[in-house]
């Protein structure tokens, strides 16, 4: 099309000139000289601007935080912006881009006009024209005494659910400051709640109110995935951490851009590439075009996996030079991917020697990951990936495509491809279920029911993360036998909150010829979710407690009976579980209006109990007499049943560090 337009335009424009071309020699030499001179100057200025690659002078003078230093062909993302505007635009709105920010550049979300306290430590937050500050005081006999001068907040982590703040220490604190070694404010700012929460409460763990400043954790650990081309440079107290860019920027996924930029600076080269019928030589990796679907997924897996560096030698090289992995490489040469199904691997065994409960905490007994952020590890256990071609990019896109229906704000929450919403991602391969009749005969639910959504059955919320449950990325099918063997709730019971394991097993046997399952005595006659909320270990209570606030589950199971059981989590010894209970209550009408104190959930217990009893009496479920959800034959609540289940609570120590 454009060639036709170009030809017509040229014909129209040049015809009169060609007619007169024999007389062109009459152009006055002065006019020509002027035009050439002006054009030449303009060209030279353009080329000069294009070629300037100035060192970042502002960064080179920084001494109190890790810096951004161009190295190994990697640089900052802004240099990609001029050619890839739309991609850069959507990326810059993503949470990847703001994972790590310089505090004085970032929009600090937390309120820095207050004092926070953990145990005997008091953190006085303030800000002025010079930046944001944290002053630490400790309790003494007659009040609180400053431990040292104010620390300047220099970096932030996160901008989606929580924001964390890192500071450098004042000069008087030797040997810590001022250096590029960072300490962590032991509070996270919850963006959703607009509230400070002790960092210890954001993870599932038994520890309460621990004022750990996690000195140098950023430099040693966070830097690997929260920056682009990181070089930790940590040698004892000598810390010179640097990265090519903060956050997960363009080159984290596309590899070093220097050669690509150099090649395509020339517009003629660019148009040769645009107009070529075949792919031309390029020096950058486009993950979507990596042919090996395993290696394509490994690009995400570099961070989204349970992994450790392969050996001391590699670790030492990483400390000095950063990772040698480049997108498109075989990741397993650089990282050991830890899998429960490969627990005898020497590196995994070495990890277990220093942390014997590591696998138990990080995985369900059958090898499914139980903490969020490790999606590639889940993918490795999925037949859709190992036998099919499923990759991360089958469902997700790191750049927003404007389809008119999915805004940038909606997209950036989970970065799902707008064209693959709902079942569409699965239907790319499982085309037969596009037919409503096939779908209904497969799911035995109505086509519009949440029970007919592929991911509700095959990617249920069985992973703990971010004070709730998130979808597992291991594609599985519901199986009651697995619940019996692993203790992990299945998709059926996560939705049908009021049903027993036996009920779900009967349906799976009838519908899908699953074999008979011997239901353990403890699960007989009681709803699987009720059982786990009251008797499960902390990880089970977290997932069951979250499910009690899930709107799809409320549609299937009603919600008025739930508060009488869920309220017990308000007194749970795990702080994270108290917060999960509050979040679930907020999804239940009537009780949602209770002014919960996120950090003192038990204070609301009495008020919630009164409301819960009233709701209980209004519940349609109560008319049915159902022991599974602790309804006595007379419709009253079975306090005795509740007590018995609470007495069975699994008190084992659980720590789920995301």
């Amino acid at each position: 099309m454009e060639w036709i337009i170009i030809t017509i335009l040229l014909g129209l424009a040049l015809f009169p000139v060609l007619v007169e071309s024999r007389r062109l020699s009459v152009i006055r030499s002065t006019a020509l000289s002027t035009i050439l001179f002006v054009s030449g100057i303009a060209g030279i200025v353009t080329i000069a601007i294009f070629n300037i690659d100035q060192p970042d002078l502002a960064e080179s003078t920084v001494v109190n935080r890790p810096t951004r230093v161009k190295k190994d062909g990697y640089g900052r993302s802004k240099r990609c912006q001029s050619c890839h505007q739309s991609q850069h635009h959507s990326w810059s709105h993503s949470y990847h881009s703001t994972m790590t920010q310089v505090a004085d550049e970032a929009e600090i979300l937390g309120n820095f006009d207050q004092t926070l306290q953990i145990g005997e430590q008091r953190f006085i937050l303030s800000h002025d024209d010079d930046g944001y500050w944290v002053e630490l005081k400790v309790q003494v006999a007659n009040g609180f005494s400053p431990l040292y001068d104010k620390c300047k907040v220099v970096m932030t982590t996160g901008s989606h659910h929580f924001q964390l703040y890192w500071y450098t220490y004042p000069a008087q604190i030797q040997p810590l400051g001022p250096k590029k070694m960072l300490g962590l404010l032991p509070f996270a700012y919850s963006i959703e709640e607009e509230k400070w929460i002790p960092r210890s409460a954001t993870f599932l763990g038994p520890q309460h109110h621990v004022g750990n400043q996690e000195i140098s954790r950023w430099n040693n650990t966070c830097i690997r995935c929260h920056t682009t081309h990181p070089r930790p440079h940590v040698d004892g107290i000598k810390v010179e951490s640097e990265a090519s860019d903060f956050g997960i920027s363009c080159e984290a996924c596309h590899g070093p851009g220097d050669a690509h930029i150099e090649r395509f600076k020339n517009p003629i080269t660019r148009y040769e590439a645009h107009l070529a019928s075949e792919n031309t030589v390029d020096d950058i990796v486009n993950p979507a075009k990596v042919e090996d679907h395993g290696r394509q997924s490994q690009i995400c897996g570099f961070c989204h996996s349970m992994a450790s560096l392969t050996g001391q030698e590699h670790h030492a090289r990483f400390q000095k030079h950063g990772t040698e992995y480049r997108p498109g490489d075989d990741l397993t040469k650089f990282l050991h991917l830890i899998r429960k199904t490969d627990e005898n691997h020497p590196i995994t065994q070495a990890i277990l020697k220093s942390d014997p409960t590591f696998l138990e905490q990080a995985f369900w007994p059958d090898g499914m990951v139980r903490v969020t952020g490790r999606e590639y590890t889940d993918l490795l256990e999925s037949a859709c990936h190992t036998r099919g071609k499923l990759t991360c990019l089958s469902c997700h896109s790191m750049h927003h495509t404007d389809d008119g229906a999915t805004s940038l704000e909606v997209w950036k929450n989970d970065q799902l491809r707008p064209d693959l919403k709902s079942d569409m991602a699965c239907l790319q391969c499982h085309e037969q279920f596009k037919e409503e009749s096939h779908l209904k005969s497969h799911t035995h639910h109505s086509a519009t029911s949440s029970g007919s959504r592929c991911y509700n059955c095959h990617m249920p919320h069985t992973t703990y993360g971010l004070l709730g449950a998130v979808r597992s990325h291991q594609i599985t099918s519901p199986a009651i036998q697995v619940t019996v063997q692993t203790g992990r709730l299945n998709a059926c019971n996560l939705c049908h909150l009021d049903k027993t394991l036996g009920w779900a097993a009967d349906y799976l046997t009838t519908w899908y010829d699953h074999g008979t399952v011997d239901i353990p005595e403890e699960y007989v006659g009681v709803s699987a979710v009720v059982k786990q909320v009251l008797s499960g270990d902390a990880a089970q209570r977290a997932i069951a407690g979250w499910a009690m606030g899930w709107s799809s589950a409320h549609e299937a199971s009603g919600s008025k009976w739930i508060p009488m059981i869920l309220k017990e989590l308000l007194n749970d010894p795990y702080e994270a579980l108290q917060i999960i209970a509050i979040k679930s209550f907020r999804n239940i009408p009537t009780i949602a209006s209770v002014p919960f104190d996120l950090l003192n959930a038990s204070a609301s217990f009495e008020e919630v109990t009164v409301i819960a009893r009233n709701m209980w009496n209004q519940s349609e479920k109560v008319q049915e007499s159902n022991n599974a959800i602790l309804i006595n034959p007379d419709g009253t609540f079975s306090t005795e049943g509740l007590r018995m289940l609470m007495e069975q609570r699994d008190e084992r120590r659980i720590i789920l560090a995301e």
């Binding site: 099309m1 060639w3 006019a31 739309s86």
Partner: protein
């Protein structure tokens, strides 16, 4: 160079200028409609939006320039009038036309190959302006 009747130059550039205004102001109306109707093919493609906006703006301004040239025709040195006239017509077609063609197909932030017409048109239009500037008010004998 054979001389040109200033009247015929006046007429040609007046017609060309007003029609250029008509065409490229119409393009402006079309672009406004694309906004009003939220046509994604236009709105979601920043490069296309820029190219077509530039086509609209340059076409309209060059239309005005043609009218100004027509009004100056009788003051332009006869020997250079015809060349300046031709170059201005070339610029008026290629400059906005190149921007428009460049927005038909785009490659990320790079416009389509039609944009290569723009520098040709720009040099032609600039040449016409410079030549006119040099020779306006001079007699043929200068």
């Amino acid at each position: 160079m054979s001389e040109l009747n200033p009247n015929s130059v006046y007429r040609r550039h007046m017609v060309f200028g007003w029609w250029s205004l008509a065409v490229f102001m119409s393009l402006g109306v079309v672009l406004e409609c694309l906004h009003a109707l939220e046509v994604l093919e236009y709105l979601a493609n920043e490069t296309r939006r820029m190219m077509w906006r530039l086509a609209h703006a340059h076409g309209t301004l060059l239309g005005l320039l043609n009218i100004a040239f027509a009004l100056s025709a009788d003051r332009v040195q006869q020997g250079r009038l015809k060349l300046a006239s031709r170059l201005l017509l070339v610029g008026t077609v290629l400059l906005p036309g190149g921007f428009f063609a460049g927005g038909v197909t785009t490659y990320d932030s790079d416009p389509g190959p039609g944009v290569w017409l723009v520098p040709v048109g720009a040099i032609a239009a600039l040449s016409a302006v410079v030549i006119t500037a040099f020779v306006t008010g001079k007699n043929s004998s200068d």
